[in-house]
Amino acid sequence: MSDRGPGRGPHRPPRPFRNWVQRRQGSGGSQGAVGAEAWPVLTVLCAVLALWYAAALLMNLDQARSLAGEGAGTADLLGATLALDRPLLPAPHQIAGEMFDSIFGHPVSSARSLVFHAGVTAGAAACGFVLALVLGIGLAVGIVHLRVLDRSLMPWIVASQTVPVLAIAPMVVVVLGTIGITGLAPKALIAGWLSFFPITAGMVSGLRAPEPVQRYLLATYSATGAQVFALLRWPASMAFLFPALKVAAALSLVGAIVAELPTGAQAGLGARLLAGSYYGQTLQIWAALFMAALLAVLATGAVDLAQALLRRRRGGRL
């Protein structure tokens, strides 16, 4: 709290609110407070797991029964429904086991390793994200500074988002492949296409966020356009940039995975999903899905971290 400056002193909340405030801020709370925060999450997790097991039992019962043949005991039958090789719906512990095997069971460079595939997808998504960042911010800067661009570009940008990229992504990849663009590039392009829009939209609002009086102030110092941008518009836009980045990070991951779906892709979580569905490897599909979710958590977590660092430099507010 000492780094928050002396101004905080008089604003200390009254006692009944202090615990709540501490918990909300997630700082300085006791172990008990953290535990209290974890309870709701754990409760939901348990409920989901229970429902999942119930669904797995119901959905896999027919297959287990036909495999077990006549005369199998109820207990054996129930056990078998949760241990099938190609279950309709794998039980959570089966997915966990499959993930463990495919993450730790093979060297990272092997095509059987889930880490390898996740790495391929993450690389494509990261390239797409950087592409979206450059394009998104570049477009926003142009739109905010040039009235012509505002009029001429904005309709096209909105129109670009009505193209169902997710649906035509495989086609795009194939078409790009025929003109010699293969590998990382088409995946990064699709990931970037999907994720630049939130960044553009957020930055246009952010760069326009400063109030007139804040701009007049710089006029009285006869600041240059570049100075207005660097000292006012850019810092003011940060509060708009980070929420947009979070959306963009998740979208670029979706884009990369979808771009891996078309035939021919040998590596990546998308290829893994497709291969899994070809051969009825439900365990492999679910493991890849959970890996994708994990990547999304890591990606948005990285954005959160960057945001937290900037927030700390700004004394606790963005």
Binding site: R4, G5, P6, G7, R8, H11, E211, V213, Q214, Y216, L217, L218, A219, T220, Y221, S222, A223, Q227, L231, L232, P235, A236, M238, R314, G315, G316, R317, L318
Partner: protein, 255 residues
């Protein structure tokens, strides 16, 4: 410091001509403290913004520090204090004060020295690491005054800087501003709604009236140079305040 001759400002609001300022002639001597007072819409803020080259004159002429308002702005001849503190929330107090110096390309050490000097002058030296939202409204406005002083302009333009503050804070800041002005010897043009504030601070009071905005009367405020809050109960003070009120009332012909 400022000379205006027949200055007028006309706004074009959706095809409708609005005369915000008409035939204003005014002299602000070097080292003077001149208040512009009048009801809302009398053009006092417009006049201040015209001096600052934030509005263009439609007619007449004006010199600021011997130059055109635009040249004066480009030469950074004045510091402007807005009605709102207009601090940048992502900068701490010190870096808000050094903002104009940064724009002028002044070195880091010198910037920090100036910030220390002027934050001390407005009594906020210990808050230099705080952020604007951690300060009260009065403290924020003092930071914005320190910011306007930081590059040591000859002229200070203040647009109702204490308008949004409670009376106790306002009294206190009036006293501080008066002492600051005495110590630094800057010329000040000060816009206000408040008669006691104008009388307490000024060497001259310019009474304005609305529709169109023009000057009704210029009243010399010949109170002793060194002033304190108790002075507001003296007969001299009340006499001048009465004159200002009379002049304001004369402008309100629609009453």
């Amino acid at each position: 410091m400022v000379q205006a001759r027949g200055a007028g400002v006309v706004f074009d609001a959706g095809g409708q001509r609005i005369v915000a300022l008409e035939d204003v002639s005014l002299d602000v001597a070097r080292g003077a403290f001149v208040s512009l007072i009048g009801p809302s819409g009398c053009g006092k803020t417009t006049l201040l913004r015209a001096i600052a080259d934030l509005e263009r004159l439609s007619s007449g002429a004006m010199l600021v520090n011997g130059q055109s308002p635009e040249q004066a702005r480009l030469a950074r001849a004045y510091g402007y204090v807005f009605q709102a503190p207009a601090l940048y929330p992502w900068r701490n107090v010190e870096r808000n004060v050094t903002l104009p110096l940064e724009i002028m390309g002044i070195g880091r050490a010198e910037r920090r020295a100036a910030a220390a000097r002027y934050l001390d002058l407005v009594g906020l030296a210990e808050f230099r690491r705080s952020f604007p939202w951690q300060l009260s409204g009065g403290m924020q406005q003092r930071v914005s005054i320190a910011r306007a002083l930081s590059f040591e302009p000859e002229l200070l333009l203040m647009d109702e800087p204490f308008g949004a503050l409670d009376e106790i804070t306002r009294d206190n800041l009036n006293l501080q501003l008066h002492r600051l002005w005495r110590r630094t010897g800057r010329s000040v043009v000060f816009v206000t709604h408040s008669i006691p504030e104008a009388v307490f601070l000024s060497t001259r009071i310019v009474v304005m009236s609305p529709r169109p905005g023009r000057i009704l009367e210029v009243i010399d405020c010949d109170l002793p140079a060194e002033r304190d809050l108790e002075m507001r109960e003296t007969t001299d003070f009340l006499r001048i305040a009465h004159r200002v009120r009379q002049a304001l009332r004369a402008g309100h012909s629609y009453e």
